[in-house]
Each structure stands twice: as structure tokens, then as C-alpha cells.
Symmetry: C2
DNA sequence: GGCAAAATCTACCAAGAGTACGAATCGCTC
DNA sequence: GAGCGATTCGTACTCTTGGTAGATTTTGCC
């Protein structure tokens, strides 16, 4: 009655219901499990955050993949990807804030690195193919992740504009910035 | 013996010396003041973070102003500005992490908003001058702040490359992205 | 049915944010 | 200069939350 998957699912349910400020005790209670079980099965709070980040990133990646598949050209695909990311974050906003809120520590670093990894590969490869120095890839990947992350965070708090407009603007900014990656950035 | 300025200065000293994990008790002790005094003079932790953000942003703005003044053209000025920001963050890295670490809540929002404010003005005005819709300004400002913030955070943790190179790469990315702001973004 | 081993729950600890209340100090009146 | 009221300050507390140890129950086996 204490499968890791079930616990994570329950944790997400509780976070979604009670907001990002939930305590581990709430989560344990919501999963009908005692605190030590939670700790034994998943680990400390940081481990929980890491696991949930994983799930969130997976969801984002899935929606991005679906969105880009239907796009006519790379630029449109990129915009669709950004929009999909934002929409997924919106759908899981409590989860996003929870995962982002443990910020101070390792969890944040891991989340950023996880999200940036594919981009580092991608940019680096593009640069290398074009005979350019691939080292900027990392900086760019972090920058892109940061841009999306902060825009999403601010948007989730006070929805300062229509989400699709935000996605469009953000996509344009990044896309033209990335023009210099080497060749066309290709769909994410 | 409990002037607000002095307390803030002392707080910065303690943070600088003991790292970003300091407790309010440490800070009070370091300022030779009791906890209630600290609370009465400055407020709760969030207020402290807000005040220190203010200072940090001021420092960054000052170094940016100094750096751009000496630049021959806008693009160079922008790069110099980014580099100056990064260098200031590096110099105050514990402060930066402290201010960033209380993240979960309001403090983060305020820091971002404060940093983004001038940019929103600037981008918005440029757009308006060019007869374009100024609403994207906010998204872009958040994106730029986010990019700098995350790159800085990641760099501060493990210095993955030479800081000036990072600054150059980051500046290029953002600069070319901002080309569409309307007319030349002008020096920050 | 009884016993050892494993899983589990209750009850606790530690640390840090924030505060109540008594103690000391200051200024004012006589 | 002495007494008294108001104000300021510091000690010592509460409360929340992350994390754990040891009692207790359950399980499997003889």
C-alpha cells in the first residue's frame, strides 16, 4: 500500500488541491500514509522535489513534442513549444510553484540542469556543425530556461496578459536571439 | 544604536561572512542587537530580503551605469552592462543567494519586478515610438531578468566558464533577441 | 499456538521564525 | 535630587515544520 508511484501521484494530488505551501505532513496524510513511510519510500523533501520535477519536466516535454509535431516550420514549432510549456505549467501551477519554491537549494539547480540538458546538446551540436565554438551553448541554455521560468512564475502569480500572447512574445524574443546559434536552431 | 542603515550594513556583513544560509539570529548577533530589535527596526525576514534586494539592485544599477558610460556604441554598452551585472553579483554572491533563496514567496516577485521595471519602461517606450504595440515589453523584461538571474545563479554555484565569456555570450543572445523591440534597444 | 523478524506508527527532537512579558532605563514632575 | 509613569529592550518562550528513534503491531514460519 506504499508504492513509490502511488505516493508521488498522491503528493501531486495534494499539492494541486492545497496549493504549493503544503507541508510533508499534509502530503503524508493525503496519501493515507505515515510520515516515516513517506521518508523511507521517497526520501527527504529535496528528493521529493527532485522526483516531482522529473514528472513535471516529462509532462512539459510531452506537450512540447506533441505541439512541435504539428508545426509547419521550425519557427512556428518553436513558438508552439513555448506555448505548450506555458500551458502545461499553467495546468500544473501549484506543482510548478512547489517545485520552484524549494528554490534555495539543490532542487533548483537540478531542475534547471535537467531542463537545460537537451538544449545544451542541441545548441552545442549546431555550433559544432557550423564550425563554431560550442561553449556558449551552456550559457544560452541556462538563459532560455531562466527566461521561460521567470516569465512563467510571474505569469502564474498575476496573469498579466493572455497566455498565448505571452508565449508568442517570448518565443519571438528567444528565437531571434538564437538565430546566431550557428544554423537554424531547429525545433526543440 | 539601532539605526536601520547600520542594521542593514551589518546584515550584509554577516551574510557575506557566513554565507547565504545565515539565520536571523546570526544576523542579530552579528549586529550586536537582539532579535526583537531587528524585527522592530526592519520587519520580518521578507522585509529584510526586500531591503537587501533594493541595495543589491542599486549596486548593480550603479555598476551598469558606470560601465555603459564608457561604451563606444549601444551594443558594446549592452554587453558591458551585462558583464557589470554579473561581476557585481559575483562580488556579492552570498547576498545574491540569500536574497534569491528566500525565494518561495513575495521577495522573489519583488526582486524581479524591481529589476524589470526600468526595462519595461524602456522597451515599452521604444515600441511606442516605433508605432508598435507596447504590451510585449513586460514579457521581454521578465525574460531578460530571468535569463540573467538563472545564468548568474548557475554560474555562482559552479563557475562553469570564464565570467567575461559568459557575459559576452549572454549579451549577444539577448541583444539580438531584442533587435525586434522596435528600434535599437539603446543602452540599458 | 508461539516466536522471530520485518514493517509501521506514535511520539519525539531540532532548528528557526516570530513574539509576550518582565526588567531596566529614561524623562518628567514636584 | 527623589519618585513615578512611559518607553525601550532582552530573555525566554511559542509554533511550525523537517526529520527520526523506539515502541508496537503485523507477518511469516515452525
Amino acid at each position: 500500500m506504499a508504492d513509490r508511484e502511488q505516493l508521488l501521484t498522491a503528493a501531486m494530488r495534494v499539492i494541486d488541491a492545497h496549493g504549493p505551501e503544503v507541508t510533508l505532513e499534509d502530503i503524508a496524510a493525503g496519501a493515507s500514509v505515515s510520515k516515516p513511510i513517506l521518508y523511507r519510500t521517497i526520501g527527504d523533501k529535496d528528493a521529493l522535489i527532485a522526483a516531482l520535477s522529473e514528472t513535471l519536466v516529462d509532462r512539459i516535454n510531452a506537450s512540447v513534442a506533441a505541439a512541435t509535431a504539428a508545426a509547419p516550420d521550425p519557427a512556428a514549432g518553436f513558438e508552439a513549444a513555448i506555448r505548450a510549456s506555458l500551458h502545461t505549467i499553467q495546468a500544473d501551477k501549484h506543482l510548478f510553484l512547489f517545485v520552484n519554491g524549494g528554490a534555495g537549494s539543490e532542487s533548483f539547480r537540478r531542475l534547471v540542469d535537467r531542463s537545460a540538458l537537451d538544449m545544451i546538446e542541441l545548441f552545442g551540436a549546431s555550433r559544432a556543425r557550423a564550425g563554431l565554438d560550442p561553449t556558449p551553448a551552456r550559457t544560452w541554455a541556462y538563459a532560455v530556461v531562466g527566461a521561460i521560468q521567470v516569465v512563467a512564475t510571474m505569469w502564474v502569480r498575476d496573469e498579466f496578459a493572455d497566455l498565448d500572447d505571452v508565449g508568442r512574445d517570448l518565443a519571438r524574443l528567444i528565437w531571434s536571439g538564437l538565430a546566431q546559434v550557428g544554423d537554424t536552431p531547429a525545433e526543440t
